[in-house]
Subunit: 674 residues, 2 copies
C-alpha cells in the first residue's frame, strides 16, 4: 500500500474517533476496524456522483451495521459527498445531518435507515432485486440504463439476526450477482467474544445459500479487499460474501475488545490512537496532502455519471418511448385511483375483502406497470397474484410476481429496499397475524415514510378454524400506533377501492387489511371513505347514539341499529364506518366534529380487535364490543357469536351505555340542585 | 417393513384425512406425507408415558409445522395418548381437545402451541437447553434424573423462517446433542415448488451451524428413519437434523402438489386414498389387528416411566436434599417477593430503573436458584447479567447466564421452551424497541400463559442519541394489547420491586420496562404499586384534575402538579402512577373508581409512548402528553423538552382541558335553559 493510502485510512479512523468523542456518545469500534474496507470500496469501486446524490444509476452502499455511522459520515466527508466538518462536529445532536444511526432523508447518500440489525442486509437484497427488475425491463443491447452494484457492510450482529438468513437465502435463490455483502468479521460482540453465542461457519452458510464466498484474512490489506470486490463483480450468477477479518477498535487502547464497541474512546484514547497511527492533524482537520488525495478520488468518481449521461442520450434517441416510460417509472407516482371508475363499481353481492383486494390489485397491475410484489408463500390465500405478469426468478427477471417464501421479516425489509431504490411501486403480503413477524421492518417503512403497500388478509376471528395462533387481535392497534403508518380495514368493495386509492397516494406506507369471509356491500360506501371515517347510516338530527365500526363489524353495527331503533322508535342512531383512523385524524376538526359530535357521549366501538384502538373515540362513557382476549378454533360464525359480535349484544351494550349516561345526568342535575 | 406396520401407517393417514374431511377444514398434506416419520418415531423411539402426560422425564415432541395437527392428534389417538375417536371427529370445533393448530393446555402431550412457523423449532431448542441445564444440576453418577430427547418435526416453512436459523445456530453453538430435528422435506410450499423461493441446501446450512446431518431418501422407509434417529442419538456433541424426503399428500389424488397442503381432500379424495392404500376400515375406526398392534406399542411405552421411577427412588434415598430441591424446581413456584424486605429498600437517590432492575435480578438469582436467562447480546446495557452464576455453554451447562447473541426472536421462543419444559424460571432481555423482533414469540407466551419474564430497557426517547430506530414509541401499547400479557413500567426502585413481585407471581408472561436514564425516587411508592395503578400524590377531597403517568413521566406529573397548584391555589390535583394497566384492570370496580373517579373528566395522560394506550382513561375530555411521532437523535433531556414532556407543557394542556370542560358545562347548562 502506498504511504498516502495508509495516511488516508488513518485520517478516516481519527476523524471517526473524534466525531464520537465530540458527541461523547457513539460507536468507535466498527469505524476503527472497518476503515480500510470503507477506503478500498469508496476509492476503488463505488460508482457514485459526489455532487449528485440522486444520480439514478449509482451504486448503492448500505451500512447495515448502522451503529458504525461515524464511519459512514467520515467517508462521506473525506470523499466530498456532502458531509462537512461541522456536520461531523454535530454528530448525534438535534437537527444535524449526522444522527446517531444513519437516517434516510437526513443525509445525502444514506440509502436507508439502519441500526436495527440485519435490516440493511435485507434492504440491500431489495436494492439488488430492483436493479435486476429494472435492467430486465429497460436495458437494450449496449445501452444499460440500469447497471449498478449494491454493497452492504454487515457485522456479526447482522449475521446473527434471522432476517439476514432469510434475505440471504432469497438472494441466493434469485442469483442476485450484483449484490456484494462485506462481512466485517471482528469476532467481538457486546457481551464478548462471538464464540460465546456464534460458532457458526458464516462462509459455509452462505455457500449453502448459493453465494460465492471470498475471504480476506487481513482487514488492513486494501489490495486484497479490492481484489475480492473485483472477483465478486466477476461472478455473473451468484451474490458474493466477502469475509474480512478485522480488529474492532483498531489502533486504540481498547482494540480487540467489546469495550471499544459502543463508548467513546475518551480524550486519552483518541490521543493514543493518533499516536499509534502516527497521525498528527488537528481535530477534525485533514492535512493538505490528504485533502488533495481525496479531492482527486472524489473528482474521479464523477466520471460514472458522465458515462451514464452519454448512455441516456443515446437511449433517448434510439428508444424514445422506452425512455419516457423509464422516466415515468423513476418519477414513481401512481395514477390518481379516485378517478378510475371501474375500481368503484362492484356487484351487489357478498364478497370477502381479500377477494375484492385481489381484483383491484390485478386491475392495478395493468394500470401501474411498475407495480411489483408478492406474498410470503400465501398468494393463493392473500389473493395477491397478478395474473399474466410473470414470476420473478433468476432466469425470468421480467416477472412481476415475487415469491418471498415463508419469510415475512425479510419480505418487508426487501420491499423497503425496492421502494428505496426507486423505479418500482412495491407491495408485499401475508396473513395479518404474521405482521408480528415483520413489525420492525414495517416500522422502518414508516420511519422512512416509504410508499410500501402491505396487503394483509385473514384479519380477525373470521379466520375461524385455524384458531388463535392465526387470529389477529392486537395487530390493528399495533400497526395504527406506528407513527406515519396508515391502516385500512375496509368493509366492502368500494371501501377497498378507497383504501387502495389512499394507500397508493404516495404518502408513506399503508396496510390494507382484508377478510377471509364474505361481507355484504353497503349503499353508502364510496369515496366518502377517503376521509377515513364517515357517516354510513344516519338519523335525523343530532344522534342519541353512535355506533362506530370498521371492516366486518360494520355489518354488525348496521344490523344493531335496526334492532335498536325497532325497539326504541324515538332513538336517533348513527352508524359511522371508520376504515382508516389515521386518515380520519387528518381531516379538519369541523369535519370530525360533524361525524362524531363531541356532545354525543353514547358511542359504541365495534371491532373484532383490541379495544385500545378505540379509547379516544368511545371515551369514558362509551361501550366496547371489541376483542380483548384471544380467539379459538371453530367455524367463524360461531366465534363471532360467542365473542359478542352480534346485533343483539351491541343492542345490550348500547342499552347499558344509555342507561349509565342517563343516570349520570340525573345525578349531576341532582348535585347541581344542592 | 412388516405388513402390520404398513397397515398401521395407512391407518394414520386415513384417520388424519378423515379428521380433516369431517371438519371440512384443515391440512391433510403433511399428515399424509409424514405419517411414516410419526409412526417410526412414536413406535420405536419416543419415550413417553401414555397414561401420564406430565411424566417429567418424557421425551418432548414438538410439531413445529403445526398445521399438520391432524397427524399429531391421530398419533395420540392410535397410541392411546388421550385423544379419542370423538376428539378426532370434533377437530377444529369449539371446546374440543383438537383445535386447528396444536394448543398447549388443550390436549395432553401437546408440548407447545405451534402454527406460526419456525416457533416450534426454537421452542424445541429451549426444551433441549432446559434438559442440559437440569441434567447438569441434578444428575448423579448412574442416576440420571433428567435424561430425555427433544424431537421436532419441521417443514419447509419452518426452515425458511429466520427464527429457525437463529435457533439452529444457537443449538449448534451450545452443542445440544439431544435435540433431533426431523425435516419433512416434500419440496412443496403453498405457492408451489419450493424451488420458486428456496433453493438453499438446508443440510449444508445445518452443517455450517455445527449440526450432524442425516439423510433419508425414501420417506416411506421406516427402518431408515428409525436408523437415522438411532444415529442421531449416538452423536454426543451435536444436535442432529434428519432430512426425510417425503411426498406431500401421499396416497391421495393430489399427492405431490400444493393443492394437498391446506384443503380437505373431499369425500372422493378420501375414498381414493383408502383405495390406493388398500385400507378398508369404516370412518374413524381401527381394524381389530391394528387396535391390538397399537395397544401393544402403547403399553410398551409405559416402561420408561417405570424405569425412571426406580431411578427416582434410588436418588431420593441417596441424595435426599438434592431430590427435595429437584421437586421444588419442578413445582416451579417463585417465592413471594412482596415479603422480601430488601427488595423494597432503595437509597434516596436518582437511579435508572434498568439499574434497579439489575440489582433486583441479582438478588433474585440468589433467592431463586432456578432463575436462568440472558440477553440478546445486550446484558451490559440491560443489566441482566447475574454475577457469579456462570455462563452457560457447551462445556459449562451449569452456567445460568445465557448468551443468546443478537437473536431476539429465537431468544423469546427458546425462553418459551424453557418455561414449557418445567424446572426453570426463565427470563430474557433486550432493548425495548427490539420487542418488535420477537413479537410473535411474545404473543405465544401470552397465548400459553407461560411464566416468562421479559426485561426490556431503554424504554423511550430517553434513549437519546441513538435516535428513532432505538427509541420505542408504539411498543407499550403493542404489548399492553396482547391478551394475558402484563406490562410494567415502573417509576422508581420500589415500583420496580413491585413489578418483579407481580411479574414472578406465576400468572403468565410479564414485561418489565426500564429506563436508560436516572429517575428520582418517590415517597409514595411501594406495595401500593401491586395494584397496577394508585394514587401517588393526592389532594384534599375529590380532585378537579388527575394527572396519570407511568415510568419516567411520573416525575413530570409530580412537578406539573406543583406548578399547576402554585398557579391555581384552589385547584385540587391528584397524581396517579400507573405502572401496570393490566393489574389495575384486575382490581375491583370500587378500587378503580377510588383512584379514577368517573365524575372527574379533567384527566391528563403523560407517557412517552403512543396515546392509544390512554384513550380509555383520558376519554373524550382528557388531554394527552404522549408520543405519537417518532423521536430523534439528540441528548435525551433535549428530546423530553421538545416533545413536550415538561411540567410547563403539562400545565398548559391541563389549562386547556379545564377550560374546555368549563365551556362545555356552561353551554350544557345554557342549552338546558332553552
Amino acid at each position: 500500500m502506498e504511504k498516502i493510502e495508509r495516511q488516508a485510512i488513518s485520517a478516516i479512523r481519527v476523524l471517526a474517533a473524534e466525531t464520537v468523542q465530540k458527541a461523547n456518545s457513539g460507536h468507535p469500534g466498527l469505524p476503527l476496524g472497518a476503515a480500510p474496507v470503507g477506503y478500498a470500496l469508496f476509492s476503488k469501486h463505488l460508482r457514485v456522483s459526489p455532487k449528485n446524490p440522486s444520480f439514478f444509476n449509482r451504486d448503492r452502499f448500505v451500512l447495515s451495521a448502522g451503529h458504525g455511522s461515524a464511519l459512514l459520515y467520515t467517508l462521506f466527508h473525506v470523499f466530498n459527498m456532502g458531509v462537512t466538518k461541522e456536520d461531523l462536529m454535530g454528530f448525534r445532536q438535534l437537527k444535524t445531518r449526522t444522527p446517531g444511526h444513519p437516517e434516510y432523508g437526513h443525509t445525502p447518500f444514506v440509502e436507508t435507515t439502519t441500526g436495527p440489525l440485519g435490516q440493511g442486509y435485507a434492504n440491500a437484497v431489495g436494492f439488488a432485486l430492483a436493479e435486476t427488475m429494472l435492467a430486465a425491463k429497460f436495458n437494450k443491447p449496449g445501452l444499460d440504463l440500469v447497471d449498478h452494484y449494491t454493497y452492504a457492510l454487515c457485522g456479526d450482529g447482522c449475521m446473527q439476526e434471522g432476517i439476514s438468513y432469510e434475505a440471504g437465502s432469497l438472494a441466493g435463490t434469485w442469483g442476485l450477482n450484483k449484490l456484494i455483502v462485506i462481512y466485517d468479521s471482528n469476532g467481538i460482540t457486546i457481551e464478548g467474544d462471538t464464540d460465546l453465542a456464534f460458532t457458526e461457519d458464516v462462509a459455509k452458510r452462505h455457500e449453502a445459500m448459493g453465494w460465492q464466498v471470498l475471504n480476506v484474512d487481513d482487514g488492513e490489506d486494501t489490495e486484497a479487499i479490492s481484489a475480492a470486490i473485483t472477483l465478486a463483480k466477476k461472478d455473473l450468477n451468484r451474490p458474493s460474501l466477502i469475509v474480512v477479518r478485522t480488529v474492532i477498535g483498531y489502533g486504540s487502547p481498547k482494540a480487540g475488545t467489546a469495550d471499544s464497541h459502543g463508548a467513546p474512546l475518551g480524550e486519552d484514547g483518541v490521543k493514543a490512537l493518533k499516536k499509534a497511527l502516527g497521525y498528527t492533524a488537528k481535530p477534525f482537520e485533514l492535512p493538505p496532502d490528504l485533502v488533495k488525495h481525496y479531492a482527486e478520488l472524489s473528482a474521479d468518481m464523477a466520471k460514472y455519471e458522465n458515462e451514464w449521461n452519454r448512455t441516456v442520450k443515446s437511449y433517448k434517441t434510439k428508444y424514445p418511448a422506452e425512455y419516457e416510460e423509464f422516466t415515468a417509472w423513476v418519477r414513481g407516482k401512481a395514477p390518481e385511483l379516485a378517478d378510475v371508475p371501474e375500481l368503484w363499481k362492484w356487484p351487489d353481492k357478498p364478497e370477502a375483502t381479500r377477494n375484492t383486494s385481489g381484483v383491484i390489485l390485478n386491475k392495478l397491475s395493468d394500470l401501474i406497470p411498475n407495480l411489483v410484489g408478492g406474498s410470503a408463500d400465501l398468494s393463493p390465500s392473500n389473493k395477491t397474484y397478478m395474473k399474466d405478469k410473470g414470476d420473478y426468478g433468476w432466469q425470468t427477471p421480467e416477472g412481476r410476481n415475487l415469491h418471498f417464501g415463508v419469510r415475512e421479516h425479510a419480505m418487508a425489509a426487501i420491499t423497503n429496499g425496492l421502494a428505496l431504490h426507486g423505479g418500482l411501486i412495491p407491495f408485499c403480503a401475508t396473513f395479518f397475524v404474521f405482521s408480528d413477524y415483520m413489525k420492525n421492518a414495517m416500522r422502518l417503512s414508516a420511519l422512512m415514510r416509504l410508499p410500501v403497500l402491505y396487503v394483509m388478509t385473514h384479519d380477525s376471528i373470521g379466520v375461524g378454524e385455524d384458531g388463535p395462533t392465526h387470529q389477529p387481535v392486537e395487530q390493528l392497534v399495533a400497526l395504527r400506533s406506528i407513527p406515519n403508518m396508515r391502516v385500512f380495514r375496509p368493509c366492502d368493495g368500494r371501501e377497498t377501492a378507497a383504501a387502495y386509492a389512499a394507500a397508493l397516494s404516495g404518502k408513506g406506507p399503508a396496510c390494507i387489511i382484508g377478510t377471509r369471509q364474505n361481507l355484504p356491500p353497503y349503499k353508502g360506501t364510496g369515496k366518502d371513505a377517503l376521509a377515513g371515517g364517515y357517516i354510513l347510516d344516519d338519523c335525523a338530527d343530532v344522534p342519541n347514539l353512535i355506533l362506530m365500526a370498521s371492516g366486518s363489524e360494520v355489518e354488525v353495527a348496521v344490523k344493531a341499529k335496526q334492532l335498536i331503533v325497532a325497539a326504541n322508535p324515538g332513538l336517533r342512531v348513527r352508524v359511522v364506518s371508520m376504515p382508516c383512523m389515521e386518515l380520519f385524524e387528518e381531516q379538519t376538526q369541523k369535519y370530525r366534529e360533524s361525524v362524531l359530535p363531541s356532545g354525543v357521549r353514547a358511542r359504541i366501538a365495534i371491532e373484532a380487535g383490541s379495544s385500545y384502538s378505540w379509547g379516544k373515540y368511545a371515551g369514558l362513557d362509551g361501550g366496547y364490543v371489541c376483542m380483548d382476549t384471544f380467539g379459538a378454533s371453530a367455524p367463524a360464525e360461531q366465534l363471532f357469536t360467542i365473542y359478542g359480535f352480534t346485533p343483539e349484544n351491541v343492542a345490550a351494550v348500547a342499552k347499558k351505555v344509555l342507561r349509565n349516561l342517563s343516570k349520570a345526568e340525573k345525578s349531576e342535575n341532582g348535585s347541581a340542585d344542592v
